[in-house]
């Protein structure tokens, strides 16, 4: 890395080298039994240059000569965007716990046992279910150096346990599942097993539902699969700058329910989406996005922040290319109602556990529409069964403008979202008749 940087400094005004090395061991269970053990090692080196005032970029996985990487980056400089920022000079970074030494103590046998336990537990509840599970253990090392004297590095450990089950009766398929991830090893499968068993219990019976607007409860998984994609795009500083976010010009305005708060937090200890610095060496922070319904901030990387005349929020992430604003962990503030309080409040309605396809509509406008892959009908304050052949559609801004209630309990879903249940008074539901 030092070699690349010192050579790159000779041909460009500024330079930055980013390197990430990962070692990941996933094991997969298929059809109720262990199927595959993997071991993956990879190293990626990215070079960013500012030359002639423009940004150039090249990246290599595996071995590459320093000279070749620099040549590739230089070639792109002449066409690159004008750099509005400088690479960070030395910074003081917050101490964020992202590494647990215990990760190395977890053996393949431990991981196999974890998978066997969860599958045995679910099969004991529902014998005909076909189970898949993935257990992953990994370590990532990140190192960033730049020509302005900035240097930072950190290690992250991660562990995840996911479970998916399918129960087939004739042509009826029921999908259930849950996952959990942490920088700590996960040694207890029971929280996931309990969630899956809850889903199986609530979905025991298929019931029909009407086509009309009705009250809807989004469970934490329901929030993740229905509402999050439009919010992630709307709070991306880049989309705000471009005017592709409906929240452009809405800073300081009451856009959401006064009880709704949302923030981005890269500083939570031992969360897999946490980090002491982002992928361009900016210290991490907690950024309020919605404070009691008021739009309070957007997320930024260095270049976008400079364009928008603000500061980076430490959200520059790399997905195979240049850093771009991306959330770390998203947290929705909790309210005061329990899930069952909400259910008891509804005469006829729907609880959405999983909506598929919702991120494939016009998410820029906040629209979502999808098939209710797992959802429960509520009648007279009770869950009566699972609905099928049903679509739910709405607009995130309408849903979150006025919430009937917010759950008093939050849980992590998909490794990056901590959310309570959200209860909205009316959402369009369409179901296939008969």
């Amino acid at each position: 890395m030092e070699d690349i940087l010192s050579q790159a400094k000779k041909v460009a005004e500024q330079a930055e080298v980013f390197q990430i090395s990962t070692k990941v061991t996933p094991i997969h269970f298929e059809a109720n039994r262990l199927k595959q053990i993997q071991d993956k090692e990879s190293t990626r080196t990215a070079l960013r240059l500012i030359k002639g005032g423009k940004v150039g970029f090249a990246q290599a996985s595996g071995f590459i000569e320093s000279r070749a990487l620099i040549e590739m980056a230089v070639e792109t400089c002449q066409f690159g965007m004008p750099a509005k920022f400088n690479f960070p000079n030395p910074k003081v970074y917050p101490k964020i716990d992202t590494f647990d030494l215990q990760i190395d103590a977890v053996t393949i046998d431990d991981m196999v046992e974890l998978g066997e336990q969860i599958i045995a537990t679910i099969k004991q509840h529902t014998s005909g279910i076909l189970c898949e599970s993935a257990i992953t253990r990994g370590i990532a090392s990140v190192h960033i150096i730049n020509s302005e004297g900035g240097e930072t590095s950190y290690k992250k450990s991660f562990f995840s346990l996911s479970f998916e089950g399918v129960l087939i009766n004739d042509e009826d398929m029921l999908f259930v599942g849950d996952s959990h991830s942490s920088c700590h090893p996960i040694l207890d499968f029971r929280p996931i097993a309990e969630e899956v068993i809850k889903q199986l219990e609530l979905a025991k019976r298929n019931v029909s539902i009407s086509t009309k607007p009705m009250p809807v409860i989004f469970t934490p998984h329901g929030v993740a699969s229905s509402l999050i994609a439009p919010l992630v795009s709307a709070f991306n500083g880049k989309l705000v700058f471009d005017g592709a976010s409906p929240l452009k010009g809405k800073l300081g305005e009451q856009v959401f329910d006064k009880d709704f708060s949302l923030w981005d937090d890269a500083t939570l200890p031992y969360q897999v989406a946490s980090y002491p610095c982002d992928d361009e060496g900016v210290p991490s922070q907690r950024t309020p996005l919605v404070d009691q319904g008021v739009v309070s901030h957007f997320i930024y990387d260095l270049q976008t922040a400079a364009l928008a005349n603000t500061q980076s929020t430490g959200n520059g992430s790399r997905y195979g290319g240049l850093p771009t604003p991306s959330p770390s962990s998203l947290v929705i503030g909790k309210g005061d109602a329990s899930f069952w309080d909400m259910v008891r409040d509804i005469k006829e309605g729907l609880a959405i556990e999983l909506l598929i396809g919702a991120e494939q509509g016009n998410i820029l406008n906040g629209d979502f529409s999808g098939n209710v892959l797992l959802g429960y009908k509520i009648e007279n304050g009770e869950i009566t069964g699972r609905v099928k052949d049903t679509m739910a559609a709405g607009n995130v801004y309408q849903v979150l403008k006025q919430l009937e209630a917010i759950g008093n309990d939050t849980r992590w879903v998909e490794g990056f979202l901590l959310t309570p249940c959200l209860y909205c008074s009316s959402l369009s539901v369409a179901s296939k008749a008969g």
Binding site: G62, I168, G370, L373
Partner: protein
């Protein structure tokens, strides 16, 4: 190198071992609005070893391609922990081949300056359209050389060149944001994405028109799909269910997906095949070294066959179809689609819509997904059909269905098959894999549409 690879595969206590090495180069260009936001080049070198022992798999991926024998050994050790039964793996004849990429206008030889000039032109067309707020353009090209060898003596080198381009026009007015996208791709011919000025202009104008379009009312409709969206439908609604890895260990699903079962009317034919030449999902050998085929998934409405890897084929007592694909060396091959399409029928577009009193004409795609039984696919453009005529423009619609019902509800198939090369398919963590989809216009009765 060939000898070194062959030697590192010999003498392991395994039922089967293989090595796959990959060298690739890629270019990526991204525009957002008037900014050329990213232009970057990447190179990659790495590989993997995979081992099968008593039905269990070990898989090791790496960047450093030295000491291959040790890596194969590690994969074998892992597989030994997993394996508890007899391995089932379809036989294959050893073969040696070198396959070069066929290109008309190789994107690797098109200078960056010329690529930029083309995209600047498209971007200017979008941004100069009144009420257009911003644009997105994403271009990727890649050249991959893949070397595959296994313990049965097969040694294959294949070079593949892939191009994809996605353009989007974003219109905005009074806090409303609407967008239309255009996705294209090609296997190695840059000229496939040139000369699109007129299409780009129309796309931008449609995005603006969406601002004043109403939402569809949710419910069941008779729906006519254009060739692009019908291709996505074929992929999501039936293609994924035809991938045998969903079925081969699932007794109950095997009972449902029994060959010979009737799924549609007698004029419904659905095909997948990498042996169909010149498309983004085309290749000579899959990532297990099996020659590509053309497979009828549904012929005359009847389930005829499904897509296989060597393992799924052996376990189901069927023949491998050459559909084991890996997105890159970091992943083992899994059963994937290639070029998936509904074959042309006999009807004209007018025949298809003329007797629809009230329905929806849905065109072009945003995306699609499936849970096997339930699937959704979203149209980028939609119109009401009233009394046999195309009527008012609607906001983009999301359609959903149940595979066991919806295929049987296709009651008209057009004569205008077109392939769409702009797709990318995701499965497990492997996305986007180059595929193509296609269809003629089709009509579906009682299709569920999400809306207000």
């Amino acid at each position: 190198m060939q000898d070194e690879i062959a030697n590192s595969l010999k003498g392991h206590k395994a039922d089967y071992v293989e090595i796959r090495l990959e060298e690739s180069k890629a270019t990526r260009i991204i525009y957002r609005g008037d900014r050329l936001e990213e232009i970057g080049r990447t190179s990659s070198e790495g590989g993997n070893a995979r081992a099968l022992v008593r039905g269990g798999w070990g898989f090791v991926s790496f960047n450093n391609v030295n000491k291959l024998r040790e890596k194969v050994g590690l994969a074998v050790n892992q597989a030994r922990i997993v394996g508890k039964e007899d391995s089932k793996f379809s036989p294959a004849k050893p073969l040696t081949d070198v396959v070069t990429a066929k290109t008309k206008k190789n994107p690797m030889t098109v200078p960056l300056a010329l690529k930029k000039k083309l995209f600047d032109e498209y971007n200017d067309i979008i941004l100069s359209t009144p009420k257009i707020q911003t644009s997105n353009i994403g271009y990727n090209d890649s050249q991959r050389k893949i070397t595959f060898a296994n313990s049965e003596g097969t040694y294959i080198e294949q070079t593949k060149i892939d191009i994809s381009l996605r353009l989007a026009a974003i219109a905005s007015e009074d806090g409303q944001v609407q967008q239309i996208g255009l996705s294209l791709g090609s296997q190695g011919d840059f000229s496939a994405i040139e000369g699109l000025q007129e299409q780009v202009k129309q796309m931008a104008q449609r995005a603006v028109r969406l601002l004043s379009a109403p939402l569809a009312k949710g419910g069941e409709y008779t729906v006519v799909l254009d060739p692009v969206l019908a291709g996505v439908f074929a992929h999501e609604a039936f293609g994924h269910l035809s991938e045998a890895d969903h079925v081969y260990e699932n007794k109950r699903l095997q009972d449902i997906m029994v060959l010979g079962r009737k799924f549609g009317n007698k004029y419904l034919n659905i095909v997948d095949g990498a042996a169909v030449p010149g498309l983004r999902g085309s290749y000579k050998y899959d990532d297990e070294g099996i020659p590509a085929t053309k497979t009828y998934l549904i012929r005359e409405g009847i389930l005829e066959s499904r897509l296989h890897s060597r393992e799924t084929a052996a376990k189901m007592g069927e023949k491998p179809t050459g559909n084991a694909r890996a997105i890159n060396y970091l992943f083992p091959p899994i059963v994937r689609m290639t070029n998936t399409y509904i074959e042309a029928g006999t009807l004209s577009f007018e025949d298809i819509i003329s007797d629809i009193k009230e329905g929806i004409y849905a065109k072009d795609w945003y995306g699609g997904t499936t849970s096997l039984e339930m699937f959704t696919f979203s149209a980028a453009e939609a119109y009401m059909i009233r009394n046999g005529k195309i009527a008012e423009l609607l906001r983009p619609v999301m359609l959903s269905g149940n595979v066991f019902v919806t295929l049987g509800n296709i009651d008209a198939i057009g004569n205008d098959l077109q392939m769409n090369q702009g797709g990318g398919c995701g499965k497990r963590e492997q996305s986007p894999l180059p595929v193509s989809n296609g269809s003629p216009h089709i009509r579906i009765r009682r299709c569920l549409v999400g809306g207000s």
